[in-house]
């Protein structure tokens, strides 16, 4: 589904992502773990195409028409309602006008936004805003979902709800989640990748990692 080979990215001569390679298959939830500044967000931005490299090192399978992306701080337009925002995103994703209403209805139901879709985004709670961001990413039924720190700033109940939502969505697609919360990665992900100083230092199935905390500290404390 996604094949990354020898991916690197530098800013002002400083290499932030160094020769990273990995594959992700359908229906997999992959957790990208790492301390702050390890290169997680840069790697995510490379996958979304927001950043590019001189050599193309990312290849998507042909059935991936577009990807869904929820950035770290979930930027939304507070003056729009979720419905207006979804219509805006649908147009940018080139979803035909005839299909837009059914697509929007689908994500409103799956992200449980039925009671708030007509309210201005600026008036919604943090949990609902996060759902709006995820719903927008899900428009057009993307084959691949990229979520950067999706639960940051949510309260414990909202975190649990959001985790369940992510698990539901992985039934139809592959998901990559960037996080520095180890318990979240263990609870949600099938596979864990740890990135440190721009290098993937661990790539294993979650079930094959005995003590994630210990491994994380060992691999990132240098």
């Amino acid at each position: 589904m996604l094949k990354v080979t020898g991916l690197s990215k530098s800013f002002s001569g400083h290499k932030v992502v160094k020769d990273v390679s990995f594959d992700i298959d359908k229906h997999q939830i992959v957790g990208l773990l790492g301390p702050n500044g390890a290169g997680k967000t840069t790697l995510m931005r490379l996958l979304t195409g927001f950043y590019t490299t001189k050599k193309s090192s990312i290849s998507w399978s042909k059935d991936i028409k577009h990807i869904g992306y929820l950035p770290e701080n979930n930027p939304l337009y507070p003056f729009l309602t979720p419905l207006q925002y979804f219509k805006f995103i649908c147009s940018l994703k080139s979803i035909p006008v005839k299909k837009q209403n059914s697509e929007i209805k689908k994500v409103i139901n799956s992200c449980k936004l039925t009671n708030v879709y007509g309210q201005a985004i600026g008036t919604l709670s943090k949990g609902f805003k996060q759902r709006v961001g995820l719903a927008a990413a899900l428009l057009g039924n993307p084959g691949f979902l990229i979520l950067d720190e999706p639960t940051s700033g949510l309260d414990p109940k909202q975190i649990l709800d959001f985790r369940n939502l992510i698990k539901d969505q992985s039934k139809n697609r592959a998901v990559i989640i960037s996080t520095h919360i180890l318990s979240e990665a263990k609870a949600v992900c099938d596979r864990i990748m740890i990135i440190s100083k721009g290098v993937i230092v661990l790539d294993k199935l979650t079930s094959a990692i005995k003590n994630l905390e210990k491994e994380f500290l060992r691999l990132t404390n240098e």
Binding site: G49, P75, F88, S91, L92
Partner: protein, 237 residues
Amino acid sequence: MNKIKAIAIKELFFFLNSPFGYLYLFIILVITNWLFFSEFFVNNLSSFESLFSNFYFILIFFIPVITMNSLADEKKQGNWEVILSLPVSDLELLIGKFLGIFAYSLISLVVLIPSFVTVFILGMPDVGIFTGQILATIFLLCSYISAGIFFSSLTSQPLVSFIFTFALLLLNNLIVSPMVMSRLPQSIGQFFQFIFISQRVSTISTGLLDIANLLFFFSWVSIFIIASSLVLKKRKL
């Protein structure tokens, strides 16, 4: 085209869903009309010259305000990251923003319609000159907005964008003023008249619309939009 339209509509919504959007229009309406009608009956001339010159002066403040958020705020909040991760080109984003802000700025011209109607009822202003003044205003709005978007693309701080755009627009108006021109050597003065907008706006305002001036405005807008696109591309390097 649908993407450009969606971005333009979203941009227009930004102003129309905010009290500031209406406040700016109200300020333009009050100041422009107050300045115009305070001398209109004294001069007893059915001419729009002073109305438009007041309006052009207000644009020096108004355009930096309405363009400062266009890209700077998108960068600051991170919305451009979402938009540019979608199948949207930098140029589509910029043209959409340009058209959205332009549509809003046209409303500032629409709010002046009662003043136009009043003058047409009270006197017989020259329709040719009036048309030239409207066209000159439209060209001026396009030029100012493209410059504002460019300065907004350079930074993630709207205030910085405001200061740079304001400085350029002020310079554009001051440099060709008789006070500055009289102190400059003739060749330098002519050069400034050539590269800045004010002189060309004055020519079109007289009802004289020529290809050279049209090309100048088209080039000015294109250069600033392309320069903004190059600035946005820098994130990818």
